[in-house]
Point group: C2
Chain length 430, copies 2
């Protein structure tokens, strides 16, 4: 770290004091700047942590133990230039590596003279730790072919077979302003200010090339993605994600999450990546809250307090879907846990990584709240779409929820190491 | 704590196992239930803390060291019955005492038989700690006199002199759907799920008597309210609230926060209370982010990195508004820190307790973000309105912000101890 001494006085940093190679505010600069200032420099008492590694075979934020807070953003590319899209991805890679390491984006101050340029980082995370920030990028179907069928960036031939708008499911009431997008950013952290800072600064880096289409904040992760985590509760008050795929289940992850070589000959670039399904699910919480405990538990198929399946045992006991009660199976035919279970879906699993949300009020005297569902899947056609079709048709829970947003993104593999590589570069190779 | 043994089996709790005295779902019940189940019962591994005391001379959540997360809700009373309003306040008092102690509201299960009633608590905070939850209640002007001048609940004669809609300030662009309200609930906690749970359950208790008019989530407290806290940053990236009133400054709190006996003969019931000012301030962050560091610092009047006043020193150095630079005062005449300072406002202070917010996108390619300003003041007429008038006319920051919501509430004194007292009861006495 090199930063000017005597900074307790109003600092007049000269160009010489920085190694930054270009003016702030351009894509090229953001990609090229040298890491200059950690978040901690301004506050010696700030907590420090090492953060979650950014580089690796897979992107972070997928099997990383789910952090507590989310800021998710979908962006549309406003440029029609392939080189600007590539520059954006380079700049995002650089900025994401810096921020997930607990650092600011780029330099803090001016380059051509004191104070005359905007800071490259917006600053609100100065003094905060990395807070286990992960940043995960994805590509939407419209990046490959727009609504008019135009091959915007010469990528159409590489569009993954399964990367297209999800079908309409029964009960869907989708808001176009909360659906779709050319690009996505999933920022997860244990501090919401760190997650919001990440999305904001990536949106800033994208200025002139891409703009925010929609964004969603979440809190209270609704899934465990590691055996080291306790199972959280969703806003229906039930433990959620008990039977989720876990980071430690490597074989299942290879089978159900990571795209393998040969899965899709047209999209070999996606090998080591995955697909991200996002569904904004509004809960009719006032209706739910006036439903008896017996009915709530029958709808979910689990005991509310402990999370045990209604067939007995404790939270981690496997559900016995054949166990009979006095008036039918203990776990009803329409119970969510039955219909979502691999045994009802040809043995397929998905990795869920959703968050609770509360977005003010609905204008009708009620809070607007629900679940921002995120899942990662190796093949949406084979694993998510049949599952969601099954749920949308039969799930007793449908009386209490409504899907209001939907998006699908292809998540490229990770950037193996610092250097010339950037997120998604395999898509643009060759 | 009494809860049934063997609850790892599906529990069939009988009426005998609970001390609850009334069916769930009614105001009377919520006020009368016996504390039955702590949040921790379902999860032995959950963190425990003792929470912030609910009872006291003043309500908690005012000088309590600012927690990191906020859920604020304004409600309108839909009933025209004074007794139902009183019952609501009794029920809220009971529920708030339970939740701030880390417990569920009421009982978890049924009363007249197993499972046949809705749970009294929605359950999503089961297993979570109290997370320093505080719940602070307030009364809006419209509770005393509605828009048509009706004395809805026989309270008009007790309306505090200063409790009326704030005046229009230059630049205000208020959304009626984000302004006003008969009642308010400020829930602050270090876990957003705990804060959201609190508002939701209080809204649930109010069902049939009051509905949510608007609600706002916040993160990243933008003020310190105790000398034990570091100064956080707002979404402009600047340290905020350095010169705020602090819990430890008792004399200043008595002078500027707590309503004293004799302040307002018509509203003696408010003695020991205060006023809460809420202002939703949208930030034009994309414009701000393209502004040079020099300009940003001139607008605020502080150094961005350390928070030191531009007159020199470090964060805690007093600003020297007379210090001259080469082209005018080092702290410009229009700098926010100058105009907000007590020396520019007849020596008056306010206790700020705001939060950052990010509410999705604005539909124009930008994130929708800003500051949800909350302040507590002994006399809005004397302290807040002149200050805000001064800022609205002269603050250089106005180029980058817009006030989009506004509300004022009278915050009654605290409930001294568990028993027959309830929040706001002094308003209804005599």
């Amino acid at each position: 770290m090199s930063h000017p001494a005597g900074s307790s006085q109003r600092h007049r940093w000269s160009r010489r004091q920085f190694l930054s190679v270009a003016g702030a505010g351009t894509i090229a600069a953001a990609g090229a700047v040298t890491l200059e200032l950690s978040r901690h420099d301004g506050d010696a008492a700030a907590p420090r942590d090492r953060g979650v590694p950014f580089y690796g075979a897979h992107q972070a934020g997928i099997v990383t133990p789910a952090q507590d807070r989310l800021h998710f953003a979908a962006l549309d590319v406003t440029s029609d230039r392939r080189d600007e899209l590539i520059d954006l991805l380079r700049a995002w890679t650089s900025a994401a590596a810096q921020m997930t390491g607990g650092h600011q984006v780029g330099t803090f101050g001016a380059t051509d003279g004191p104070y005359l340029a905007p800071p490259e980082d917006t600053g609100e995370a100065l003094g905060l730790s990395a807070a286990n920030l992960t940043i995960t990028f994805g590509f939407g179907p419209s990046l490959f072919l727009d609504g008019d069928g135009n091959d915007r960036f010469g990528l159409a031939a590489k569009r993954p077979r399964a990367l297209r708008d999800l079908p309409h499911f029964p009960g869907d009431n989708l808001d176009a302003a909360r659906s779709g997008g050319d690009l996505c950013i999933q920022a997860c952290a244990d501090d919401p200010q760190v997650a919001v800072h990440a999305v904001r600064n990536l949106a800033r880096v994208a200025f002139g090339v891409a703009g925010v289409r929609w964004s969603q904040l979440g809190f209270g992760r609704t899934s465990s993605t590691s055996t080291t985590q306790t199972t959280p509760r969703n806003l229906m008050g039930f433990k959620d994600g008990t039977a989720n795929l876990k980071a430690e289940g490597t074989a299942l992850l290879d089978q159900f999450v990571w795209v393998a070589s040969g899965d899709d000959p047209a999209a070999a670039w996606l090998t080591g990546g995955t697909y991200l399904v996002a569904r904004r699910i509004k809960m009719h919480i006032e209706t739910w809250d006036r439903t008896s405990l017996a009915e709530q538990e029958a709808v979910i198929g689990r005991d509310k307090r402990l999370g045990a399946p209604l067939s007995g045992g404790d939270e981690l006991t496997a559900a016995d879907f054949d166990a009979a009660g006095s008036d039918g199976p203990l776990i009803p035919e329409s119970a969510h846990v039955r219909l979502a279970h691999p045994t009802s879906n040809g043995g397929s699993h998905i990795l869920r990584r959703g968050y609770n949300f509360a977005d003010g009020s609905d204008g009708l005297g009620h809070l607007a709240a629900g679940l921002f569902f995120i899942a990662f899947t190796r093949d949406p056609d084979q694993h998510f779409i049949p599952l969601q079709t099954n749920l949308a048709r039969n799930d007793a829970l449908n009386e209490y929820i409504q899907h209001t947003g939907s998006a699908l993104f292809a998540v490229p593999p990770g950037v193996p190491a610092a250097g010339d590589r950037f997120v998604g570069d395999t898509l643009f190779a060759g």
